[in-house]
């Protein structure tokens, strides 16, 4: 290794004899630090990790864990100190509240641009000023303000605020006015953290850097894990995280037989304790979900004259709205099963409805081309209509109450921003059969009759949605929904009687579950239990799906669904 590195360029002749490897000594960034015979500077399989940085981060982690002796031992052994001498001095001064000394040290720090210098100085002086005020040393505070703070000539607004503190009558006022958290060791620590964020990171490493890096790696693993579907965050550092297929419900654990005709719609309540289903036999049924995930019939809601096409749980799950096909909307009390009110419109019927997040108002969309807003007493509060507005087939309101989405005509998704009273339209390429929203109010799922499911992000102005394919859809209204913990999966029904599950991130078809004997019209995932979902089908049954590791149910309690034919899904 005889190359002369003083001017960074070893004689070319010599280089050819050596293999170009990471053993070339290149200039160290920390001048004046004795580096013992270490020639390898990069670690890791790709040589991307610099040894100096790595050691410093480990030292910092040891300090933050409280292992001071080990940390200082590491510093001396590797010869790489965590902070250079100046910085250690600076830190000590800040932590002890020695403001003037720390200012001097700050100025001694090399390669800092003037802006950063000023901001850091401002913070230190601000703390000094407020402490002085707090202690009642008003003239000292005034002197600080005049001679030191105003010389910096930045953040004048803040300067004026601080100046007005002088005339504050009591100490509490000061604290409240400038959001000062008081003096003392804690405040000094938080000042130090604040300063750290201002100074360049290679001078003072941000706190808890190693923990931060590891958490980033964990979240990347978690995102890459396709079957991840558990509520608890049991990720270990020892191996890469990867769930098995058995985290997704793939087995029918119960078949509910109470409807007499095709079941067109179903939805779990927000608290996951009830399930409502709507059927062509003109009834809706509310089911109870027991603690062991056993579902039992609770109420049968009769009264509609036409097939019930849609149900909507109020945000507090006390009330339920049911919508007949082109017919009336009925409001029911979910506990007692009584019909509280019927909403009609003389000209035409309604096709769907959606609650506002406050649970006291809801909107309906109908065949007469307007969207109406109603309250619980039966009064029509508002309506959106227009000559150019075509027939509405589906409405939904996001859970934050900001956006109202309607399916107008066949191809348009209209998004009305309720706060700003603006509207924008997403045009789809084919006819849309159904609409479903995610919990974070930002993503929208539509089923198209061209046998695709599109996932749109309504906040970003994207032109292209994510697409999911594989299921069959032609003539009927098939609905899909989000599922799993953090909504990582997309589930849909299909005309070939199977349930399809895709991974939302990469669009891969994970499972195809047979079992039903007719078109699966609608699926709903339990919002509080990531291992349970329900599907509704034309064979007039509802199937509850759970994990394949669970034992099948053999209960025969007196309910109308005492039959349990377990035709289990054999996954491909």
């Amino acid at each position: 290794m005889g190359g002369d590195t003083a001017n960074g360029a070893p004689p070319p002749k010599r280089m050819k004899l050596h293999m170009p490897s990471i053993e070339e000594a290149f200039p160290h960034p920390m001048d004046g630090v004795a580096v013992p015979a270490v020639t390898i500077d990069a670690l890791g399989s790709k040589g991307q990790i610099k040894k100096i940085e790595f050691t410093r981060i480990i030292t910092q982690a040891l300090y933050s864990l409280g292992y001071n002796k080990s940390a200082s031992l590491l510093e001396t052994e590797s010869g790489i100190p965590l902070h250079s001498a100046i910085i250690s001095q600076f830190r000590m001064e800040i932590l002890q509240g020695l403001w003037d000394e720390s200012l001097k040290t700050l100025h001694n720090l090399s390669h800092l641009d003037p802006e950063t210098l000023k901001s850091a100085a401002f913070l230190i002086l601000q703390q000094k000023f407020l402490e002085q005020l707090h202690r009642g040393e008003t003239d000292m505070a005034l002197k600080t303000l005049r001679s030191q703070l105003s010389k910096l000539k930045i953040r004048m607004q803040r300067l004026h605020e601080l100046a007005s503190c002088i005339i504050c009558p009591t100490r509490e006022d000061i604290l409240a006015k400038v959001e000062w958290r008081g003096g003392g060791a804690e405040a000094n620590m938080s000042l130090l953290l604040h300063l750290q964020s201002l100074l360049p990171p290679d001078i003072m490493i941000p706190e808890k850097r190693l923990e931060g890096l590891i958490e980033q790696a964990l979240s990347v693993q978690r995102k890459a894990c396709m079957f991840h579907n558990s509520l608890d965050q049991a990720l270990t550092l020892y191996t890469d995280h990867c769930c098995g297929r058995d985290q997704i419900p793939t087995q029918t654990i119960q078949v509910l037989d109470a409807h007499e005709d095709e079941v067109w719609f179903l939805q779990f309540s927000h608290n996951g304790k009830h399930l409502a289903s709507a059927s062509k036999d003109c009834t809706a049924i509310i089911w109870n979900v027991g603690n062991d995930d056993f579902v039992m019939l609770k109420h049968t809601l009769t009264g509609h004259q036409k097939p019930v096409a849609f149900v909507a749980w109020s945000p507090d799950d006390i009330m339920l709205l049911t919508c007949g096909t082109e017919e009336v909307v009925r409001l029911w009390n979910a506990e007692s099963g009584d019909c509280l009110r019927t909403y009609t419109k003389p000209t035409s019927g309604f096709t769907s409805c959606a609650w506002f997040p406050d649970g006291r108002k809801f909107v309906t969309g109908g065949g007469d081309r307007c969207i109406d807003m109603w309250d619980l007493n039966g009064n029509e509060l508002d309506s959106w209509k227009g000559v150019r507005m075509p027939r509405i087939t589906d409405v939904a309101i996001t859970s934050d109450g900001v956006n109202m989405v309607s399916l107008a005509g066949n191809k348009d998704i209209r998004i009305h921003n309720l706060k700003e009273k603006s509207e924008h339209v997403i045009e789809e390429e084919g006819s849309i059969t159904s609409l479903s929203f995610s919990n974070d109010s930002k993503h929208l799922l539509v089923n198209l009759s061209s046998q695709e499911i599109h996932l749109w992000d309504i906040t970003a102005n994207e032109k292209l949605p994510y697409k999911f394919k594989g299921h069959r859809q032609g003539r009927y209204v098939i609905r899909s929904c989000f599922g799993g913990s953090d909504h990582a999966f997309i589930v849909s029904g299909s005309e070939d009687s199977q349930v399809y599950i895709w991974h939302r991130g990469n669009g891969e078809l994970l499972e195809v579950l047979p079992g039903h004997a007719g078109t699966v019209n609608c699926v709903s995932w339990n919002p509080t239990n990531p291992h349970m979902f329900a599907s509704a089908s034309d064979d007039s049954t509802i199937r509850i799906w759970g994990l394949s590791t669970k034992a099948p149910r053999v209960r025969a309690t007196g309910t109308s669904n005492g039959i349990h034919p377990l035709i289990n899904g054999v996954t491909r």
Binding site: E262, A309, R475, E495, G518, T519
Partner: protein, 113 residues
């Protein structure tokens, strides 16, 4: 069999199924009004919605031999007319891929008098 998905046509003047009022075709898609169906006058359309196709068959029509599919309304299964799959004479080739709906199986909607 599940909630049947009905396509809706936007344009104001629409022809609907006489039985169930499902939208069938738009006035702007009329190609010719001078056709004869099995039960009387019929119109030739470029595009129709909410129909299902029946099986192919060869039929001898007034204008010659053609391969046609019967079309049924998706909602009520009424036979509305047929679709020309293939025409065997050169003069009739223009009809291929277009649809015939019989006049008495349609009702008009929103036509201005």
């Amino acid at each position: 069999m599940g909630q049947i998905f009905q396509e809706r046509l936007p344009g104001p003047r629409i022809y609907c199924c006489s039985n169930c009022q499902a939208h069938a075709a738009d006035y702007d898609e009329v190609v010719s009004k001078a056709f004869q169906g099995r039960y009387g006058r019929a119109y030739l359309f470029n595009k129709v919605v909410n129909v299902r196709l029946g099986p192919k068959e060869d039929r001898q029509l007034i204008t010659g031999l053609h391969t046609v599919n019967d079309i049924y309304c998706s909602c009520c299964q009424q036979v509305l007319g047929w679709r020309y799959e293939k025409a065997y004479e050169e003069k009739e080739k223009y009809k291929e891929g277009k649809y015939i709906i019989e006049k008495n199986k349609m009702t008009k909607q929103n036509f201005l008098k």
